[in-house]
Symmetry: C2
Subunit: 334 residues, 2 copies
DNA sequence: ATGGAGATTGAAAACGGTTTCAATCCATCC
DNA sequence: GGATGGATTGAAACCGTTTTCAATCTCCAT
């Protein structure tokens, strides 16, 4: 691989001049420029990105850390982030934390040492604030709410409203015995949804019934099973997310419980898959693409020194009614 | 961020010595070492990875390029690759080519310029051989077969055998009118499966019936629809992959076609999702984790200068029978 | 002719590590 | 007592860019 000095030698100029034509950082005589470009073209020279990063202390790399790429919600998010990053001229490094704070820290450390320009992270750390404070480069929090004081940048959907919408919908569908499968409460997203559920229950005079559940298939299967045993009269299930909802539907189908006739199910996220399942899933839709795009745009702006006026962006959710729930007809009501 | 020279100054040694204790590349006096380590600990010094890469012309980064992270097959593969890479001390950069050869080349270019140590790629390039030849760093081809001459490293499942197994299974299930939804024939994986299908058809005296289909949900929905119109008597569908099979099942369910009673379906890949669908999918299982682990192990070995004796690894597939197919009972046979 | 101003250019110093090479020190061996 | 040799160490070059700073050149107004 040729170096810039080699190009300079062949074009009878200094490396500085080659750098200038490469980056357009200063005017160079058109004739000289043509000569340099010719040599570059002929040799197929490509500047070494590492040397460039070292010199500029910037790599045009954005790191993205998610709990797990196995959840389609995060891969769809990552796709949106990548698209926007790419559009703005950044490369994206996608990292899996496996919900392991240590691995998460290791990746942050790695990214900083690679001169990454920014980090977009859905942290699983209990102490989000410490993380943010310790990070010397722009960071935006995805899908989680940092505590007020840190005033970190964050983009997320309105999970509280989502919890409310889902619960209200099940009530509208005639459910009397709604059980919520709560995601891990250390995540603000899960906590907010639960809060929305509880508030609606109180308003409607229902007693909240809750089951803890991780955000994955395996635990979804397990917890659905125990849920059915613990609450034999359940007629509505609010799944922790779509992936869990899929497990719920799976277990119900295996037990020949008719959906939505006996039990109605609502998911959360509206991943692409939710419309392809059989039956198609009623769910709370997050604007996944908008969240990802916005997060990437914010880091890019920060990297380029454009201060963002608004630090916290909470995007609206929407109820998407499909086949796992059924609005009660007025005449059915006694 | 402190530099190595700063540490050297504080520890009253030269940068060379600090480097030596950091890397263990040469013996240093225990007392000196202790002094250096103390300073490192106190300052929280972390070596700059970029400078290190530049100097060593190696970054301990492995690039992984897949067509799309939206297909769970590739995310599961990526997870396995990441785990093995991580275990061997490499970072993984995951890139989406979107099945766009230009984007693919751009990523390869980027990786080379970042001093990536190796590349694992599921290429969508028609001319795989040119790609491989042009790449100055270790590369292993995933899920595709390079042409004999290049003798590039590759890891893949036995797609031909998979095509055969699936077809034979449908025949065993009593299907007389099997239609294959072929993936894009420019991919050797799709071509091999088709070949397996055709061979079994010939052996069994069936006439092959084929429909072209991309490897994604959207096209799966579209092509299932046209398939049903084109072949009204179809009683067995061989989907291009599990993702397409999911679409097939979706369309059949929407049209109230009973599965497997009227039409039986077999997928390909055995992604995690296939067991969670309703009905659970009969499919040809690829050893996804083994493929990923092996690919990562091979690049790592190559990077570390251990020549691999065997360039091509073809791993076995297996038939996984679930609910979308039904073996014919002997007594049912007339 | 002279003095700037502005346009081009190159030398050299970064950036923050690693590595080669030679120097120094000290113990050991004839 | 001097030669030998191994263990430690540091100076300096190097990796391949960018960037600062000063030098040179050109052109034009005075």
């Amino acid at each position: 691989m040729a170096t810039i000095r080699e190009i300079a030698r062949q074009a009878h100029v200094s490396p500085a001049t080659v750098s200038r034509v490469l980056n357009g950082t200063a005017a160079v005589d058109p004739q000289t420029e043509a000569r340099v470009l010719k040599v570059i073209r002929e040799t197929g020279y490509r500047p070494n990105e590492v040397a460039r990063s070292l010199s500029k202390r910037s790599s045009r790399i954005i790191g993205c850390i998610v709990p797990t790429i196995a959840n389609p919600f995060f891969t769809e998010l990552a796709r949106a982030i990548e698209d926007e990053s790419f559009r703005r001229g950044y490369k994206l490094i996608l990292c899996n934390s496996d919900e392991d704070p240590a691995k998460e820290e290791a990746y942050i450390d790695m990214l900083e040492r690679m001169n990454a320009d920014g980090i977009i992270i859905t942290t699983t750390h209990e102490d989000m604030d410490a993380l943010i404070k310790a990070c010397p480069i722009p960071m935006v929090i995805l899908d989680r709410a940092p505590s007020q004081e840190t005033a970190a940048y964050s983009v997320r959907a309105d999970h509280y409203q989502g919890g409310r919408l889902a619960t209200e919908h099940l009530v509208d569908c005639g459910c009397q015995n709604i059980v919520m499968m709560c995601g891990p409460q250390k995540y603000t997203s899960a906590a907010k949804r639960l809060q929305g559920y509880r508030d609606v229950c109180r308003e409607k005079g229902l007693v909240p019934q809750e089951v803890d559940c991780d955000f994955d298939f395996a635990d979804g299967l397990l917890k659905t099973d125990s849920l059915l045993r613990q609450f034999p009269d359940v007629d509505g299930i609010l799944a922790a997310n779509d992936v869990v909802a899929l497990s719920v539907v799976k277990v119900l189908a295996a037990q020949k419980v008719p959906i939505p006739d006996q039990i109605q199910v609502v998911g959360f996220d509206n991943i692409y898959l939710s419309q392809l399942m059989t039956p198609a899933l009623t769910t709370i839709g997050q604007p996944i693409t908008a969240i990802g795009t916005m997060a990437a745009a914010i880091v890019a702006d920060l990297v380029e020194g454009q201060a963002q006026p608004q630090k916290t962006r909470v995007l609206p959710v929407e109820l998407v009614i499909r086949e796992t729930s059924c609005l009660q007809n007025p005449e059915d009501k006694q």
